[in-house]
Every structure is written in structure tokens, then in C-alpha cells.
């Protein structure tokens, strides 16, 4: 069960209040009529499907009914950050590389707070409280 921090409600809520809505940050072609079949097909049907860090849109369906974005690991299902529409993610694929490097070097730093993001990553209660309180 996900606990998702809605950046508009500014609260952690249960997964069932939300609906996943697919890949985030897809720009509609400025001139659809000028698109080739290839470009239009890519826009309609081809999505990122990474095994790792994914940026996706979610809808707070039975809450504020607003769309927002989540950066999530599609293997561990860990939510790395949530952010409002129009904002850019602060966590990317390099985060995963960094994490793997840390694991290789044997560091046991399990408490991480996604920089700039609202959702905390495997964070302690105290760290979560500080984010919520902010």
C-alpha cells in the first residue's frame, strides 16, 4: 500500500484515494497537423517503460481531484518525490546510480530525503515529520 504525499493537500494519504495516470511530462506536439505518422504515433502510443526511476502523473481522485507528479522506482516501488504540475523532478536516473554506488561501497546510510521534493525516501519518522511540518 502506497502512502502518497499530495503536494496540494500537503498530507500523506492512502493509495486508494489516488489513480495512476501514466507517464508525466509528455508535451503535446505544437502543430498536430504538421506531424508525420511516426511523430504522431510516438506521441499517442509510445511510453517510457523503465525498470528503475519513472516520472508519472497521478490524480488525487477522491481528494482534491488535482493531477500531480510522482518520481517512483518501478522495481522497489519506492516513492522518491511528489511535485506539482508544471514543476520539474529533482530526482532522476542518476539517483539510482548513486544509490547503487553507495550500496557497492558498503555504506549503510538508509535515511535519505529527496532533495527539494516533498516525499521522503525510506526516511525516519523524524525526517518525515520535518518535511510534513515544513
Amino acid at each position: 500500500m502506497f502512502h502518497i504525499y499530495c503536494p496540494y493537500c500537503e498530507e500523506l494519504r492512502e493509495e486508494e484515494e489516488f489513480h495512476p495516470k501514466g507517464q508525466a511530462h509528455i508535451a503535446r506536439p505544437e502543430e498536430p497537423d504538421a506531424c508525420s505518422d511516426e511523430e504522431w504515433g510516438d506521441y499517442l502510443f509510445f511510453r517510457d517503460n523503465p525498470r528503475g526511476i519513472h516520472h508519472e502523473m497521478w490524480l488525487h481522485a477522491v481528494g482534491c481531484r488535482k493531477f500531480f507528479n510522482i518520481t517512483r522506482n518501478t522495481v522497489s516501488y519506492e516513492i522518491l518525490e511528489t511535485y506539482k504540475m508544471g514543476e520539474q523532478p529533482t530526482v532522476g536516473a542518476e539517483h539510482l546510480a548513486r544509490e547503487e554506488k553507495t550500496a557497492r561501497e558498503g555504506k549503510t546510510d538508509s535515511v535519505q530525503v529527496a532533495e527539494g521534493g516533498q516525499q521522503t525516501v525510506g526516511a525516519s519518522d523524524a525526517a518525515q515529520a520535518s518535511v510534513k511540518g515544513a
Binding site: 500500500m1 502506497f2 493509495e15 486508494e16 489513480h19 495512476p20 501514466g22 505518422d37 511516426e38 504522431w40 504515433g41 510516438d42 499517442l44 502510443f45 509510445f46 511510453r47 517503460n49 523503465p50 525498470r51 519513472h54 508519472e56 517512483r72 518501478t74 522495481v75 522497489s76 516501488y77
Partner: protein, 416 residues
């Protein structure tokens, strides 16, 4: 290959079952093969088998990063049917159904194919209209099907709540008597054993880490056990297809989602057919062992974690109890998830790619198991001839740019 028979069983019993032959070898990889199949699930093993059997290409390797049939082949709810709406998909799934009907004999392996029929319930007027349309389309394509009313459904499944008091009353159903279930593991093992007997190398614990491509032509694969050369490579890797395509610089219109299933404690025989409902969103059958095999929809988010979410379990069981109040106190034994590669039009991709000699068979989404023999058969023919088999041709990846989609959401999008 040591053939299985009733007489053989008696013979081995007299020897205390101590000298059964291994079902397949555990070979070391050769430097090269005529054809490499990536993915040792049902579809991949079937492809290898038909390559050897029907096309005489026995210098074939199946590369599997884990163990044979350990992915979605081991995780589905074993339903086999062919009542799809559109001509292209009906042809593909009916091709598979015809293979299913003789599969145990062909493989000399009991895949326990049981044609106990499948009901697809309708709960609204629109459901019933769609069912009538689909059954008519099926009949025109030579696929058996009937439209039943609520009394007809009730007489087939006495334990189901078909009363008007139900929250979503059953108005009728489509009924495909030739459909049914099969033993999922046995399908993979049967194909593996038969392929191995024909000389196919089944390489387990062999993970593909990259493709060797020169001048737009595939030359082989990189694996954790060294490089293996081949000018023809077929990828049949379900949920991991996008990852593999990425290694070859290709993009597929797939999204990988967890799809989960669960089984109950074993019960005495109570349900002798398969009941599916798109509307309340659940499907159920009873295995020969007695446990209820239950499934429903995918988790809506992308995931590779091979586990499902609890809200989905709850929704699934709500649907089952809505249809079968008698099961409300049955305890669930196990729950698991598989990673399904869903396509925008709920139809698979069997296709060539921009890389010459590299083929993909993927996008089966939530309903690949039923197609295992047909998928393997047409994909093998395509790999052998270098041209897509006529049944596979409409499922080219080009359809996402030409617009010639095969929209099977009505028959395939929800329940399997």
C-alpha cells in the same frame, strides 16, 4: 527421449521410481546458434519446439535468466479461450486453441487441458449487446459461442447468485464450450522436454546483457556466460521486453504492470467451469487440486516488482463474493504477481524490427497464456522464413504508426 505411458509408470513403480530420465539436459552454451530465443517461458519454449519440429532448425538456444517457465507462465490463472472480437485476433487465438486440443498427445506430456467452458458474464444492457456482437463475430469466424440468458447461466453454475437481488444482477453471458483451463507449468515443461529431445539447448541462468549489432544486422547477444553468436534472435520476454528493446536501441509501445492472482485453500469440487466478469471485474475457476484460482485487473501503475497491491486484492475478492456469496468465508492461501507487458490496443506485437534478424514477440498483456501454442507456432514460422507468418503479420509494430490497430479492449482489456 524416454516416452511417458501408463505402462512406463508401472515399470518405473517396480523400480521404485529411481531411474527416471531427466526431462532436459543442462548444456553449456555453444559459441553460436542458427537461432537464439531470449526468454524461456511458455511462448519462447514453444517457439523453439516448433522451429525444431516443423522447420528442421535444431541448432537453437533458449536463453533464460532464471529458470524455465518461472515468469508469467507460472503466475497466470491458466484460462484458455479464443472468443475474441476482431478477425485478426480471433485467427491468432483460434490457431492456438486448435493446437491446445492435441497438445498433450503431441508433446507426450499431460498438460491437463480441460475444456470445461468459459462464461463471460453480462450485467448491463450494453454488456449484453457487446456479448451478442462478439458471439456473432466468433461464429462467423468458425469459433464456437452461445449467448445465454440468466436462467441459462444459473443452470450451468448453480452456486452463483443470478438473482435480481444482486447489486449487479447477471443478465446473461457468452459461453464458449471449447474453452477451459490447462496446467500452466506442464505447458512449459512439456515444450521444454520436447524441444530438448529435438536438440534445442535450454540455457538457464543465462541472462542477456546486450545485443551485438553490426550494420543494422544482429550478430549475437552478450550474456553473463559470454557472447553467443546468431544472425536470428527472437525476444519473448513479456514484462521485460522494453528493457531488452532498449539494449538494441529500440522503443516499444509497452507498459509493464503487475497483474496478480490468488488461490484459496482446497475445497471439494464446487465449480466445474470458468466464470469471468468484466463488469464486476473478477474471474474464477477451480483447479483439479480443489483450490479456487482467482484473478482480476492489473495494478494501474508501472511496475517490475512481481508483486501486487493490497487494494487490488480487496477489489478482486469483492467481485468474487458479489458473484459467489457462498465463497465469502473461504480463506485465501497464496497471492502473487506477474509483470505483464500491456499494449495500447490490448493486442500482442509479433514483429520484425529495424534491426535485421531481431524479432520481438511481446505485448501479450494480461492474456498471453492461452495463446502459448499458437504464438510459438507462428513466431517459429516467421523466424524460420524471415517473413512474418500470415496470422502474425497484422500484429506488426508498424500498426502504431499506420493506425491499423486491433482494438480488443472489449474482449481482452479487462478479464482473463
Amino acid at each position: 527421449m524416454q516416452r511417458y505411458s501408463g505402462f512406463g509408470l508401472v515399470k518405473h513403480a517396480l523400480r521404485h521410481h529411481e531411474d527416471w530420465q531427466r526431462q532436459w539436459r543442462n548444456p553449456t552454451p555453444k559459441p553460436g546458434y542458427d537461432v537464439i530465443i531470449v526468454g524461456g517461458g511458455g511462448h519462447g519454449l514453444a517457439t523453439a519446439y516448433y522451429l525444431a519440429k516443423e522447420h528442421g532448425i535444431t541448432n537453437v538456444a533458449v536463453l533464460e535468466k532464471g529458470w524455465l517457465g518461472g515468469g508469467n507462465t507460472a503466475r497466470n490463472t491458466t484460462i484458455v479461450r479464443s472468443n475474441y472480437l476482431w478477425d485478426e485476433s480471433a485467427a491468432l487465438y483460434e490457431h492456438a486453441m486448435k493446437h491446445w486440443e492435441g497438445l498433450s498427445q503431441e508433446l507426450n506430456y499431460n498438460v491437463m487441458f480441460s475444456q470445461r467452458g468459459v462464461l463471460n458474464l453480462g450485467h448491463t444492457l450494453q454488456d449484453m449487446r457487446d456479448i451478442q456482437r462478439r458471439v456473432n463475430a466468433n461464429r462467423l469466424n468458425g469459433i464456437d459461442g452461445e449467448v445465454l440468458d440468466a436462467e441459462g447461466v444459473q443452470s450451468l453454475v448453480p452456486i452463483m447468485d443470478c438473482s435480481k437481488r444482486a447489486r449487479y444482477p447477471v443478465m446473461g453471458a457468452s459461453w464458449q464450450p471449447r474453452a477451459g483451463v490447462a496446467r500452466h507449468d506442464a505447458v512449459a515443461w512439456g515444450y521444454a522436454r520436447a524441444a530438448d529431445a529435438l536438440g534445442v539447448d535450454l540455457l538457464q541462468n543465462t541472462e542477456v546483457t546486450g545485443f551485438k549489432i553490426r550494420d543494422g544486422q544482429i550478430q549475437g547477444v552478450h550474456t553473463n556466460r559470454g557472447d553467443i553468436a546468431s544472425k536470428t534472435v527472437g525476444c519473448v520476454t513479456a514484462g521485460n521486453s522494453s528493457v531488452l528493446a532498449g539494449m538494441a536501441g529500440l522503443n516499444l509501445p509497452l507498459e509493464s504492470h503487475p497483474l496478480q492472482a490468488l488461490v484459496s485453500e482446497p475445497l471439494k469440487p464446487v465449480l466445474d467451469t470458468v466464470v469471468m466478469s468484466n463488469h464486476v471485474h473478477g474471474y474464477i475457476s477451480q483447479s483439479d487440486k480443489g483450490d479456487l484460482v482467482i484473478g482480476a485487473g492489473i495494478d494501474g501503475y508501472n511496475g517490475y516488482g512481481q508483486r501486487g497491491s493490497y487494494p487490488t486484492v480487496e477489489h478482486t475478492l469483492q467481485a468474487i463474493v458479489e458473484m459467489f456469496p457462498i465463497f465469502s468465508r473461504v480463506r485465501m492461501n497464496r497471492q502473487w504477481g506477474g509483470i505483464v507487458d500491456t499494449c495500447p490496443d490490448a493486442c500482442p506485437i509479433l514483429s520484425k524490427t529495424k534491426v535485421k534478424g531481431l524479432y520481438f514477440n511481446c505485448g501479450w498483456g494480461t492474456g498471453g497464456f492461452k495463446a502459448t501454442p499458437g504464438s510459438g507456432h507462428v513466431f517459429a514460422a516467421s523466424l524460420a522464413k524471415g517473413e512474418m507468418h500470415p496470422i502474425a503479420a497484422p500484429f506488426s509494430i508498424d500498426r502504431f504508426h499506420s493506425g491499423a490497430l486491433i482494438d480488443e479492449h472489449g474482449a481482452a482489456g479487462v478479464a482473463h
